[in-house]
Amino acid sequence: MTADIATRRSPLDGWTSRFTELAPAVRLAERPFLAQLTLRLTDTSRAAAVSRVLGVELPETPCTFSSGTGPHGPVEVAWLGPDEYLVLAQPGLQRTLESALREAIGDTHGAVVDVSAQRTTLTLSGPRARDLLAHGCAIDLHPSASPIGTCVQTLLAQAGIILLVRDADAGEFVVLVRASFATYLAAWLVDAGMEYREYREQPV
């Protein structure tokens, strides 16, 4: 919808320059307006139909996410609970995906909810990204403990987040945070990254 794009504003609108100051140690950016859908599914026989819609298998292992490219382009599906998933897709696809998924799961053993504006997305990468997260996140993000495809719901500082490990070795992470907590978390990240701005020096 054209009106959509003309008027929309993301929770971290205006933070780009502050985020950029953390580079090159940490490349931090908001990736706003992703299509996000909560998918609940207790009828596992429908999983195949869901996979066909998304082009990605639903993650079966707790605390992982699956990713791939399907009929609706690149998609990530995060395991959030025994019957709960979060589907991430390109901006603008929420309505299309909502109806496609609803059709795939039937109307008795599942639910689909558009939660696109519920959380915003931050991407963190760079040589100090894991260090930065370690200041506020108690999860072990070492590649041996959190390999590519890890997805956890945890706290970063005092904000609840969903954390996806895109590339454990290179230190590439996605942080999903509730919109109302986004500016708190952004301020926290910028503050935590203060030492890493002088990346040329080794910290004391």
Partner: protein
Amino acid sequence: MTADFRLPRGGRIDRDSALRFTFNGLSLTGRQGDTLASALLANGVHQVTTSIKYGRPRGIMAAGVEEPNALVQVAEPFAEPMLTATTVELYDGLVADGLVGHGRLTDEPDPARYDSKHAHCDVVVVGAGPAGLAAALTAARSGARVVLVDDQNEAGGSLLGTDDYLDDRPSDAWVRDVVAELDATPDVLLLNRTAAFGAYQDGFVLALQRRTDHLGFDAPRHIARHRIWRIRAKQTVIATGAHERPIVFGDNDRPGIMLAGAARTYLHRYGVQVGRRVGVFTTNDSAYVAAIELAEAGVDVPVLIDARHDVPPKLGAECAARGIDVYAGHVVTGTEGRDHLTDVHIGSLTGWHADTVVCDTLLVSGGWNPAVHLFSQLGGALRYAPGLGAYVPGERLPTARAAGSAAGAFEVTTCIEQGAGAGRDAARAAGFSPGVEVAVPVADARAEETPSAVLWSVPGEPNGVFGAEYVPNAPFGSVPDDARFVDLQRDATVSDVLRATGAGLSSLEHVKRYTTIGTAHDQGKTSGLLAAGIVADALGEDLADRRPTTFRPPYTSVPFAALGGRDRGELYDPVRVTALHDWHVAHGAEFEDVGQWKRSRHYPRQGEDMHAAVLRECRAAREGVALMDASTLGKIDVQGPDAAELLDMLYTNMMSTLKVGRIRYGVMCGIDGMVIDDGTVIRLTEDRFLLTTTTGNAAMVLDWVEEWLQTEWPHLRVFATSVTEHWVTVPLVGPRSREVLATLAPDLDVSNDAFGFMTWQDGTVAGIPARVCRISFSGELAYEINVNAWHGLALWEALIEAGEPYGITPYGTETMHVLRAEKGYPIVGQDTDGTVTPQDLGMSWAVSKKKADFIGKRSFARPENLRPDRKHLVGLLPADPTVLLPEGGQIIESDHLPEPPVQCLSPHSPAGLNRAHRVVAQPPVRMLGHVTSSYDSAALGRTFALAVLRSGRERIGEKLYVPIGDQLAAVTVTETVLYDKEGARRDG
């Protein structure tokens, strides 16, 4: 008076540096690598302060964290109280003063940054001495992830205080090699200046890293000064070394009396001789080495007093060769000196010989206490080792092990062997196969020859023998009746301990509290075991049969600022904001905190106070059009074939009969029948609903729903999802709201017939897809417009623009409260407090009589819930329409207040009876309830209030009173609805 006590060579200091510092007003110079203590000693300064109770001069006793005396207050660069001079690294420009017991906090804001960081590993090793280094290297070679923490500025531990050789090289070469290999091994983190202060279950270790203190004025501002490390390890190796134990004797507290090992450390690590003429008093071989090494460095060591009868032959011979007289079977019985030691009285244990030796320094060693603190914190049992006179780890723990001196081993090669073994075992337990073995070097250290003796306190009488002649210069001015100090920081003596045991105390925990021994900054590192030994002797018991005290975190002091970290200022607690927050800020809103949310409370114009702004905002809502940001309301999407069944159970009223397209107000109760939340329920489709909750209860209600679904009703096919922040919600309120909405939503028929009260429609508002609900929390014609939060600001600005011809007015939570109160709508959490039923609120209409069951239903039949004198929600109108009743004000019947004090016990009770037998009379003033909400109303032209009042509905029309200070305000009880009782304004 100062003099140069720096030796011409030796020490790990930079002799080309000159660090100027000020201590107690004295300008002094030290070297890079010094601590404040070593720099003071290098200048001949022993006395640091005076003692807290008796004002006795006190000096430097140790060389590390165990220091009981040398407390200082740092003044520059930033005031910091209660540091030990032995742990402050010297820097240029340091200004410090000795501290008498208490530190002083500055009232200046602290400019430094503090932070914390999580670290994860397979093996955490605490202590980078010989055992810890060997443990870390062994674990690292197996491929384990290792964190090695050490509280010193460089690795080496006890080796830093010796001149031992390992494999024919100075020991620091061995240390350098190990550190270099650790540094080069991936996934090994070596943290210097980092004190592990707490060890907890599941391998959780907390450590404090002092990152920039040593840089003084040059500390970079952007680097966090202190960092709390939160380390989670599969296995823990405790290689924390040992603390030397003093011996108690008369006047054992004079400056110049210090631990023998500390003197060695000052000699080898800092190139400082602690005195010109140094005596030694020991119960073990280790102090012989100190005596010999000091003599080798050119210091006059006239005498070594050994409480043992058997002198170690080789060490004794070495002493003799250096002119040191060894007195076996002798003890120190007292000392002389005012600000500094001058003489040492010695005597044989058998009593036949006594002598006095002129000394300016006396080194003392009563043996070594393994630093078992972290092992004990982990719950590890301790065992008394009679040969050491100390506690050692007494059991195997599945995830922690001690090694080296912390485990009671004191030979360097044994420490390295034990460390390597612990590192190997820890790595193996964490799932790693051993790598290349760490070779145990050959050490040239002198071996122990004669077993240690255990001596807590030199036997003798407290008075007469000991320095009772001393005249104190204490501010508190008392003279001790005993100068045999056990805890020097607390000025607690042997007599104090004996008074405790004499009073019948036997538990060390009780004695500790009675005497305060072990409660100072050092937590009894030098005094605790002495006290335990003296107590055991006094009671005629064996320490091995007594339970040791439990060590608790923190091992060393941790500044609160460090624990606070970056959770201060704007990051103290998350501030939750809506998508419209920036607009509110830009338009001068005053905010109030609702949970973690910032909500606009009102929007004062130039010159307006809150009262004026709220009256204006209320008028706009009642007479024109107004809008507010209600995005913080909790919103929960509920869908599934059994959604209606779930809602029938959650709400007191019937939700399954709600038609698609319609909205119903609902009340939720707990199992006790008390109101926990309220809100609206929108039926989106046959099997899909959207619930709203109060702002503060959004998370609670979702948890509540999930709890019932997961534990009691897992058979229900229904799913609840929070969508609170997906939506921006804007109530558009007032008689002109329909016109404003019509302007922006041309495709929406907003007429009352087409769009009735408590219905919703999807449409386009200002070009934005929206869900519009005819809900009113003010009694006025109102539309709640919900849009995807990304478009919230666009919607808001479009509404402001479209409403401009109608004088559209943004309003805040205060106005919302007034408007709803005028209509008698309660706010859960303000007008209710967890003891209020729907019936109490006058909402029996919202409690279904048809439903077979719902949460809270059974409790409504309890006699207590049926009492006629329950408190009901009512309205109150003050007789004086300008009087604003205080919220929380009590409601009473009496038109006069009795004079205080209010007599609550019957004056007729017989005086001799104890309290239990007195008759408690009715209070003279019966409290009938209290004011829950109180406002000035523009619409009513007067003040009004809501209140919960005993039998309130039966009292309507009655005149009651509310005390305001010492005045009574007369009020008339009314129904709750005070404005537009007919509801005529609802439809515009």
